[in-house]
Each structure stands twice: as C-alpha cells, then as structure tokens.
C-alpha cells in the first residue's frame, strides 16, 4: 500500500500534527505492508525530518501562495497520480477539512473525515473508526473504492521516532489559478490551536464573569494549556466563540481536559468526552460532569484553583 500524507509547510515549521501524520502513515504501513510518501507544500528546508517519524520519501512542492482548496487539491491529486497512492491522509484541520470532500469528488475516492484508528484492511478495502454524533458514539466506516482519502483527527497518536531523516526531492506540479483571494491573516499570537492542544483548561458559567478568567489563565499557563469555554460562556460573549468547545462548537480530544465551573450538559460532554483524562472542579457535587470525569474536586473553584496552580508550579520547579 502506498500512503500519501499531505503537509502544509508554507511557514517552514513542522508541527506536532505533521509528525503525527507521518507516524500514523508509518503505523498503517507497518500493519498492512506499505510505504509512506510525504508531500510537503511550501518549504522543503526541514521536511527531511519527516523521515524520522516514518516517511520513506519526501516530495517538496515549492509554493508560497495562499491556501486555496482547488489549487491544493489539484496539487495533491497530481502527486497522488504520480506516486500511485492508495491512501491519501490529510490532517483534520482548517486545511484538511475543506480538501477531503473536494479530493474525493475530483478523484472519485471513498472518503472518511476525522479518523482515529489504524484501519483494518481486508480484500483491498479499509475500515476506519471515527467519532460520530459529536463523539457520543463511534462508527466503523468501510471504503468501497480501491483508493481512499481520509483526514486524521489531531491527537489520535503520539508521534515517535522510528527512522532517520531522508532526502527531499523537489517536484513541480501546477495547481492552477486560485479561486479565492486571501486578503490578510489575523493571528491570535502565542495560542495553541484547540484541536491540537495536549492540555485544555476550560471555564463555564461557574466562572461568574469574564473578569475572573485570570485564575483560569494562570492555571493554563503553568500547565502549558490552551483555554476553552462552554457554550453559555461564549453566547454571552465572556469569551470568543472560537473557544466554544462542545457539540455545536469544537470537538476536542486532548490528553488532559480540566473543567472549571462547567456543569457538564450533554452537549458539552459530547465535545470533550474523548479526552484521555478529565478533571472536573465544581462546587456542586451533583454536577453531571463528575460522572464523565476521571478526577474531581468538589469545591469553590476560586479557592481551590489558585492552590492547584501553586502546587503545579512547585511540581514543575521540582521536575525542572
């Protein structure tokens, strides 16, 4: 099986999610026999590093333009043809999400968005697992064509080094003219994107107001965590809508999810219950979130969270 992974490296920084794609491809190849080819759009400078995480071959497509679904799909489709790829793996993020449908239609491929497992492989058909009903359940989805495109949910696998750097070969492909013009980018500096975050600290109505977020942010800082919130908090504009985690916001699966003053309505749980470990701090012992939690503290968050932050600082200092 030839596995083609797509990496957007226009900023010349390989992110954890990129290494995860290479490692995921490696795991599929290891199980079913096959090699990983990484196609890297943008800079090829550091792309050889992907070899360490499982890529056998790295192809660089030099490109310094903006993201455009049709241009990127055309480039991926051409490389997939040239390399004879059986499986195209995209990241399930703001670039992979629009690409998957376009590529499936363009190349008449089976497509599965948001996969989380190493697929079974039987009779040339792959069977992937993905979250459905916003993580209230899982579905096993079988591909019906010989070739497929999937997007991998971030944080599904921890990338490990399994090889060494490889040479980068440059490939010229023409994606055509962009259909969409990017007029500018507004960055929220220094923030870890929620779907990629290892640790998330999230606040609910129990935070009582936007002026109290300092206590949450201090905890997030010592944990190196991204910050998030529940729907009611974003609906009343205490926090931006981009932080809303849950069924109608963003679905996340970090290693650690710390919920402060969130009762745990089913719509919120749907967005977070695939987190590996959940800590709930709430003064109401009846809060439904405790049933979905691994660890809990029943207490006033404004008293206990600063203590927890201090204890973590001591722990980190002791470790460092």
């Amino acid at each position: 099986m030839k596995i083609l992974i797509y990496i957007d490296n226009r900023k010349n920084i390989l992110k954890k999610a990129d290494l995860e794609l290479a490692y995921y491809g490696h795991l599929i190849g290891e199980k079913h026999g096959g090699d990983v080819v990484a196609m890297v759009i943008g800079s090829g400078e550091n792309a050889g590093e992907l070899g360490k995480y499982g890529a056998k071959e790295v192809l660089n497509i030099p490109y310094d333009g903006d993201f455009d679904v049709s241009v990127f799909s055309n480039m991926i489709a051409q490389v997939a043809e040239q390399t004879g790829a059986d499986l195209i793996v995209l990241p399930h993020n703001s670039s992979g999400k629009p690409l998957i449908g376009w590529l499936a239609a363009k190349m008449n491929l089976s497509s599965v968005a948001g996969v989380i497992n190493i697929p079974d492989y039987d009779d040339g058909k792959l069977e992937f697992k993905k979250g459905v009903f916003s993580s209230k359940a899982f579905a096993y989805v079988k591909t019906l064509t010989d070739k497929a495109v999937v997007s991998l949910m971030p944080n599904s696998f921890s990338p490990e080094e399994v090889g060494s750097s490889v040479d980068v070969n440059t490939v010229e492909v023409d994606g055509g003219t962009p259909k969409v013009k990017v007029a500018g980018i507004e960055k929220v500096e220094g923030k870890v994107p929620l779907p990629e975050a290892d640790i998330i600290v999230s606040g609910g109505r129990g935070m009582k107001g936007p002026e109290n977020w300092g206590v949450l942010e201090e905890l997030a800082e010592v944990l190196g965590a991204a910050t998030a919130c529940s729907r009611p908090v974003s609906d009343v504009n205490w926090r931006p809508h981009t932080e809303h985690v849950g069924q109608t916001g963003i679905v996340v699966r970090p290693n650690l999810y710390v919920a402060l003053g969130i009762s745990g309505a089913i719509q919120h749980l749907a967005g977070v219950n695939n987190s590996k470990t959940i800590v709930v701090i709430n003064k109401d012992p009846e809060a439904p979130f405790f049933k979905a939690a691994d660890y809990g503290i029943v207490a006033d968050l404004f008293e206990v969270v600063p203590k927890l932050t201090e204890a973590l600082k001591k722990y980190k200092a002791g470790k460092g």
Partner: protein, 246 residues
Amino acid sequence: MNLLVCISKTPDTTARISFKDDFTKFDESGIQFIMNPFDEFYSLVRAVELKEQFGGTVTILNVGPASNDIIIRKALAIGADKAVRINAEPTSAMFVAKQISEFVKDKNFDIIFFGKETIDYNGGEVMGMVAEMLDLPYVHLASHLDVEGTTGKLDRDIEGGVEKVEVEMPFVVSASKGMAEQRIPNMRGIMMAKRKPLEVVEPVEANDLVEIVKYELPKEKSGVKLVDPENVEELVRLLHEEAKVI
C-alpha cells in the same frame, strides 16, 4: 441575490444515542429530530439577513424523506422563501453531493450555503464535493460573511487565527459559529411558512463510496476519583503518576 441554503436533519443536541440490530443501525425511536444547528443558526440566518439587506430569494434544499418536511417548514418560518426536497435517504456524503450538484447546475445561485458539518456524522465533506462538481470557489469554516457588489468578503477560521478572504460570486460557503445569531421563528413566520412552496423532486442515480458497518458507544468511565480540596498536591500526584498526563 439568489441564495441557496442546504440543510440536514440531525438528532436533537440533547439526544441520547443508541443503536439497534447488533450495533449496525442508529436507533431513531424516541429521538427528536432538528435542523442541523450549523445549518440553522449560522448559514440560514445569514442568508436571510443578506436577502433582507439586498433583496432576492432564499431557497432551501434538503435531501431526505417526507418526514423531513417539518424541519424544512421551520427553515421557511425563519425567513426562507421556498424549498426543494430531493426525495431520497441521504445515505452518504457523495450521494448527497451528487443530488445537490445535479439540482444546482442549471440554476443561477449566487451563494450556496452549508453549515460546517452535521452534528450526527461530523463529516463536513458534502460542500467540498459540491464545489468540485460545479467547479465553484469554496470557502470552508467561515465565521463572517459580507457581500460588496459581486464579491463575498469572509473570515475563515484557521488554527490560532482568522484568514480574511475575498471571492467572486457564485461560490460555496460553509458556516461556522459566529456567522450569525440564532433566530426563533415568530408566529407570523410560522403561519406564512405553511403557504410557501415546497417542491419535491426525485433523486438522480448515485453510488455510495463508503459504508458504515458498525457502531460503538464510548466506554463508561470507571468512576470519578474525588480529591480533597485541602490536598490539591494529591491531584498533581495522580495526574503525574496514575494518568501520566503531566
């Protein structure tokens, strides 16, 4: 402006999900169905707002059985002018995309709206397929949409920020949270919706390229370990030694 809003039917956000026939089928019994929130709150409302601002028509398109008419009527009550239902079970993204592109190809829609994903199968694939089949520009995950002349000006959610994009009509857009605010239909809207046209058309032939073979429910948590608020060091220890997450 000639606007099309594609809507899906999903279980209510509070629905408890269960399966039947040895976990091969979603058990719909006792489930309340709603319009997919991303379609309703954001894309439909924004389309209605644009119509109110610039004039024009909002058409609703749904692929589904007759039982979907209830959510289609709700979309009309919120402010759409007319609706078309393609009379088929929406068995896969590719099947639905083929139905939508077949319907759209000889109409002159300026903007084709979708919600960013449905809250049941969480794919978000249909709109990319439709854009490809119709060879239209496509902006996914848009949290803001304005129109100036024939140009759409959108904000697109990207990791850690927002991309400002411009695109000429006609185009395909998928809405994420922020594009508009939920609207509750009023009594007048509900009454008017009953008289608005809802056309039913038969599907074209199209294949599914994937098949769901089995479902699974998440494993129950083994039970929460409560930590004494006077001993937060214990939580730090558990996170390090037991959960191994710090």
